[in-house]
């Protein structure tokens, strides 16, 4: 044994030293990729791929409003500003540029990875009679040559992203009373306090409460009511409906169903 050790001592020591040196070696990962940019759906509250915007839910004097589309880059940050190539998919759009909307040029600033593109929405008379659609998408450009087809959710299931977002974003614009996109969203106070949506019910809610601006899910953002306000609205609505039914019988909505409110 001693003989074998002496014979192989040099080899043992060499391997030992190599191992030590190998453990100290700095691994240099090299990453090169084309820059891309995508609509950051994770930043969007409620429905991620579209929104219904109605001037009917806003003050009567509001003629212009802005929706901000959050965007985020893929790849390295740049030392210079880069223009966000947010475009309109004409084949899916009925809104008229300049008449119904305007996309303001936006840049991702140097050494930043996110931005917000303002979309100006304009209140026009024809929106009282129809809804127009504005489908936004990210195009490739010299500064962002990589086309990103689908982005994944941050939330995961079994270690994998739980879902995939489509790349575009649809704005449905009108001056009519529309079902809020977030009525049926998880945790929505619309759903909790008012139950199943119908246009008749929503009109009744607005008439009885006097409130037209609710914010996403009727609970998010500065324009949303407080919980106490929601309880007060609920009390007003069930009381008013009770009195209405005493005189007129059940209130029937546009689908033929009776308007009711959930028991809390």
């Amino acid at each position: 044994m001693k003989t074998i050790f002496h014979i192989h001592k040099i080899q043992f020591l060499s391997i030992f030293l190599l191992l030590i040196m190998a453990s100290c070696k700095k691994e240099e990962l090299r990453y090169e990729d084309k820059a891309g940019i995508y609509i950051d759906k994770e930043k969007i509250v409620g429905v991620k791929d579209s929104t219904s915007y109605s001037f009917a839910e806003k003050a009567g004097t509001l003629m212009l409003d802005t929706i901000y589309i959050p965007v985020k880059i893929s790849g390295n940050m740049s030392p210079v500003d880069r223009t966000v190539p947010l475009k309109v998919d004409e084949s899916l759009t009925t809104a008229l540029a300049g008449t119904h909307y305007q996309i303001l040029e936006t840049k991702i600033k140097a050494n930043e990875i996110t931005g917000r593109v303002p979309i100006l929405l304009k209140r026009t008379a024809d929106l009282k009679a129809k809804q127009v659609r504005l489908y936004l998408k990210i195009a490739t450009s010299a500064e962002f040559p990589l086309e990103i087809v689908n982005t994944k959710t941050n939330s995961t299931f079994s270690g994998e992203p739980a879902g995939t977002y489509v790349p575009g974003y649809l704005i449905k614009l009108s001056d009519q009373l529309l079902k809020p996109d977030t009525w049926d969203a998880t945790g929505s106070w619309f759903k909790l306090f008012f139950g199943t949506y119908s246009a008749t019910k929503y009109r009744y809610i607005i008439d009885m409460t006097g409130r037209i601006v609710w914010g996403p899910r009727a609970r998010d953002g500065a324009e949303a009511p407080t919980l106490e306000q929601m309880y007060i609205y609920y009390a007003k609505l069930v009381s008013a409906l009770y009195e209405y039914e005493k005189i007129n019988g059940p209130m029937i909505d546009e689908t033929g169903n009776q308007v009711t409110f959930p028991k809390l």
Binding site: H6, L13, I20, I232, Y234, L264
Partner: protein, 504 residues
């Protein structure tokens, strides 16, 4: 030789490797910590301080090996209800008026040595109370109008409180009745009560319970108040704090105590007009048989029936099941009498109601908080000999199966288990009995079962002889007998109403 060199190199290499793992034992310039010592702020676990009184504490601060140190000082409090820190003083000795909201606080005292940044902290607990925090609110009718006195539990009487707090003005006549509300929402958990004055034809007034200043009218607590006058007749909270109820203009207003002040969302639905009594139920933390399903019980004097409610917001008041296969002691849907009084009983889930028919005959009803016919737990025709039919002043005990009431110049006690009544006290001479209230507590006692409003061992009876009002304090005996007053407080005008404030 070669072998030895290799061995030497191996040892050297291993030494270097081991050295890399060696603990660093550097030399430090060590100095002793001169600890700061502060004497205890109080010898008691808690110190009661009256609101706006000056709290003075002069602690002794010493430091090891230091005679003329330079220090900074900080006195502050934070409430038991997780309120924000309140700075009191940056002086060595505390001498500050305690004007934080009523309640319990931890008082902190921090001393820092400026040269070394060594700090030392001591603490104690203080409770800011009000001289009007507990005792009996007394509503009097003077020639000028209504006024408020306060009878402290120490026997001290504070007079003319309303008129002095309201620049010489008085409560309009008729002065009406006091209604108190123990409200536990909000941060100021030690300030649970609201005080209202209700009179027919006038919107109920609200008083500041600490100063007796006129506060905003009661109708301000209603999101949808009815047409004026807005008259409050009863107000009560559900035991768990999930709901509050108020009887206003014959309707039940529902609210939530989630806000810092009571807020009522709207009236419960239905065709009804409630008698001025409401009972909120409790499970007392027990598994009840049958399971309790009613949060609240009232009596609809429009249709002569009991109604009940359960729910988390405004909804429909419920009638009782009409299934008579398992009847109770009476039909809760068909009582058809006038309710003259309601109270909690000496059993936590059974609630007493006294009714009068058109002929003046009196009846006893007892309800259990469920929605079936079995809710009707007990019923009795009260003997004429009880002389209850003209009574308007009642006080129910939760310790004994007794309801005290005033008949003529007698305080009678009705035992609803035996359905008999006896005289408990007779007022002297021409003394007119004007009100009667038990001492009460909302403090839960698991040993006696939690009740919404638990009466304790004192009964206060106010009298008026045409010139002077008095309050007679009785110790209620274990049998319910009153005996003679243990104390009599005099010098009042005619007392129309009393409200017992519990100390919390």
């Amino acid at each position: 030789m070669k072998s030895n060199i290799l061995s030497l190199l191996s040892v050297l290499m291993l030494s270097i490797l081991f050295a890399a793992c060696m603990k660093d034992k550097s030399n430090y310039d060590l100095k002793p910590i001169n600890e700061i010592e502060i004497t205890a702020l109080s010898t008691a676990d808690n110190t009661d301080v009256l609101l706006n009184d000056t709290l003075r504490i002069t602690p002794t601060v010493t430091q090891e090996n230091v005679t003329n140190g330079t220090y900074t000082y900080s006195w502050y409090i934070f409430s038991d209800a997780f309120g924000p820190k309140i700075e009191l003083s940056d002086k060595k000795d505390l001498k500050v008026a305690m004007n934080a909201p009523l309640g319990g606080y931890t008082l902190m005292y921090v001393v820092k040595d400026v040269s070394t940044n060594i700090t030392s902290t001591v603490q104690t607990h203080v409770t800011i109370t009000s001289r009007f925090g507990s005792g009996i609110v007394v509503l009097e009718e003077k020639p000028e109008g209504g006024d408020i006195s306060h009878l402290g539990l120490d026997g001290k009487i504070y007079r003319n409180l309303y008129s002095e707090a309201n620049k010489g003005s008085y409560i309009p006549t008729p002065v009406g009745q006091l209604t108190g509300f123990y409200f536990k929402g909000g941060e100021s958990i030690q300030k649970p009560y609201y005080v209202f004055i209700s009179a027919p034809g006038r919107t109920t007034m609200q008083l500041d319970p600490e100063t007796y200043q006129d506060a905003s009218p009661f109708s301000g607590l209603l999101a949808s108040p009815p047409s004026a006058p807005v008259e409050l007749s009863a107000i009560q909270g559900y035991w768990s704090g999930n709901a509050i109820y108020a009887l206003v203009n014959g309707k039940v207003q529902f609210g939530s105590p989630s806000e810092s002040t009571p807020s009522f969302y709207g009236a419960l639905l239905g065709d009804y007009e409630v008698a001025p009594f409401l009972i909120t139920s409790t499970t007392a933390g027990k598994s009840n048989t049958p399971a309790i399903t009613a949060n609240f019980i009232c009596y609809d004097q429009k249709y002569g029936r009991f109604l009940w409610f359960t729910g988390g917001s405004v909804g429909q008041l419920n009638t009782y099941s009409t299934d008579m296969l398992s009847p109770g002691a009476f039909d809760p849907n068909n009582v058809k009498k006038k309710c003259v009084y309601a109270c909690y009983s000496n059993q936590y889930a059974y609630y007493n109601w006294l009714m009068k028919d058109d002929l003046g005959k009196m009846y006893f009803y007892q309800i259990y908080p469920i929605g079936t016919q079995k809710a009707a737990a007990a019923y009795a025709e009260i003997p004429v000999a009880a002389a209850m039919s003209t009574a308007t002043i009642f006080a129910g005990s939760t310790q004994l199966p007794h309801i005290y009431y005033v008949s003529g110049n007698n305080v009678m006690v009705y035992d609803y288990k035996s359905n008999t009544a006896t005289i408990a006290y007779t007022a002297i001479g021409a003394e007119q009995i004007t009100d009667m209230k038990f001492s009460v507590s909302r403090v839960a006692e698991s040993s006696t079962s939690y009740q919404i409003l638990r009466t304790t061992g004192k009964l206060y009876v106010s009298t008026y002889n045409g010139a002077e009002g008095k309050i007679n304090e009785f110790d209620v005996s274990p049998t319910g007998a009153l005996g003679s007053p243990v104390k009599t407080y005099s010098g009042f005008a005619k007392i129309t109403s009393m409200f017992y404030k519990e100390k919390r």
